[in-house]
């Protein structure tokens, strides 16, 4: 099971934290997929499945990290609104899956959005994302008295305690 990336969006629709996992060159065992799986270009990848080239992603195709975050926000925002229109205001989507990845979503009542992109075999991560919110975000970011209340540009979320905690959490409970 592999985690590709992780994002937090705040109530102002800004990406306040993003994290990519898997160093370039690392290859997920038993998977024919290229490891550097940016969501934005996954759709155009259908033919690389059996060629098994690992780093041969043309850089021009991949979007920048900012564009990735924007794209993901747009996707989850639209999906969530659609789901609410169909299923009522209490409804929310949990994840969606493509041939190449699975996107997990958790939204707090305060409109923080937690998004994790993983391989397709991953189980439901709603509870895991909730645990990241309760055990890491609230503890280390919100309760840090010296971090700002809001986090424009990610200020305050990029603190060491949070990042180390997140790494440990992801490594121990998801990867491997």
């Amino acid at each position: 099971m592999v985690v590709y990336s992780f994002y937090i969006f705040d109530r102002h629709a800004e990406c306040i934290y993003k994290r990519k996992y898997l160093p370039p060159g690392h290859k997920a065992p038993g998977s024919g997929l290229p490891p550097s799986r940016p969501t934005s270009s996954a759709g155009s990848e259908a033919d690389t499945g059996n060629t098994n080239v690992s780093e041969a992603r043309p850089p021009s195709k991949a979007l920048s990290a900012e564009d990735d975050a924007k794209l993901i926000f747009g996707t989850v925002f639209s999906l969530r609104n659609m789901v609410r229109k169909l299923g009522g205001v209490d409804d929310n989507f949990v994840s969606y899956r493509t041939a190449h990845y699975k996107l997990h979503y958790y939204e707090t009542p305060t409109n923080l959005k937690f998004v994790m992109v993983t391989d397709t075999k991953m189980n439901n991560l709603r509870i895991v994302l909730h645990q990241i919110y309760v055990g890491l975000y609230v503890e280390y970011v919100v309760k840090n008295p010296l971090s700002p209340v809001e986090h424009p540009g990610g200020v305050g979320v990029d603190c060491e305690t949070f990042e180390v905690g997140l790494d440990q959490f992801v490594n121990s409970s998801l990867q491997g």
Partner: protein, 191 residues
């Protein structure tokens, strides 16, 4: 039924998930803050009220996250439910009090919180300078906390104290008014 459920959640969270601190520590700490503000603003109590509200606002914006993390509550369906949650979960888990919700306006957008006890104001006697009794709202930090916390769940409210036993009133009461529900913010258009 919303009230009963809120009461149950509040009781449960208070019992199992809250680290307790000494009540006198809280009272004395808060009292010191107010006393310092009165000093700094030279007994300009209108300004002290404003500063307390501002401090509360910043606290509220953080506290709401802790509220959801601890209580696991969902978003409230309407303002009545919100009022019950504030009283029976919010105040319960953070101060171990449950102010009474009453006096709803006909349009359901205003209610009164009556504080039968107020840990912030134990031991307090307002200064006898002829104006503190009329101008200072000693626990005004609470109005700011509500304003900040509800803003984070997309409700713009106004809250103010209408009476305080410290001033010689019969009860301590706060009036809360829902101004509007805020819309989702959209990302800035970068096209």
């Amino acid at each position: 039924m919303a009230a009963a459920k809120a009461a149950r959640v509040g009781e449960e969270v208070w019992k199992t998930r809250i680290d307790k601190v000494n009540a006198e520590l809280v009272t004395l700490t808060y009292g010191t803050v107010v006393a310092q503000l009165c000093n700094d603003y030279d007994s300009n109590y209108v300004e002290v009220n404003k500063q307390l509200d501002k401090m509360g606002y910043n606290i509220g914006m953080r506290l709401i996250e802790d509220y959801f993390a601890k209580s696991g509550s969902q978003r409230c369906a309407n303002f009545k439910e919100t009022a019950e949650a504030i009283s029976k979960i919010g105040f319960k888990i953070f101060l171990n009090i449950t102010p009474v919700v009453s006096n709803w306006s006909p349009d359901g957008k205003q209610f009164t919180l009556t504080f039968e006890e107020n840990p912030l104001a134990d031991f307090v006697e307002l200064p006898d300078d002829g104006k503190a009794q009329d101008e200072l709202w000693f626990s005004n930090i609470l109005t700011g906390i509500l304003r900040g916390a509800l803003e984070m769940v997309q409700m713009q409210i106004e809250a103010h104290f209408t009476s305080d036993v410290l001033r010689g009133d019969e009860t301590t009461e706060m009036r809360v008014t829902l101004l509007r529900y805020m819309d989702d913010e959209l990302p800035p258009d970068d096209e």
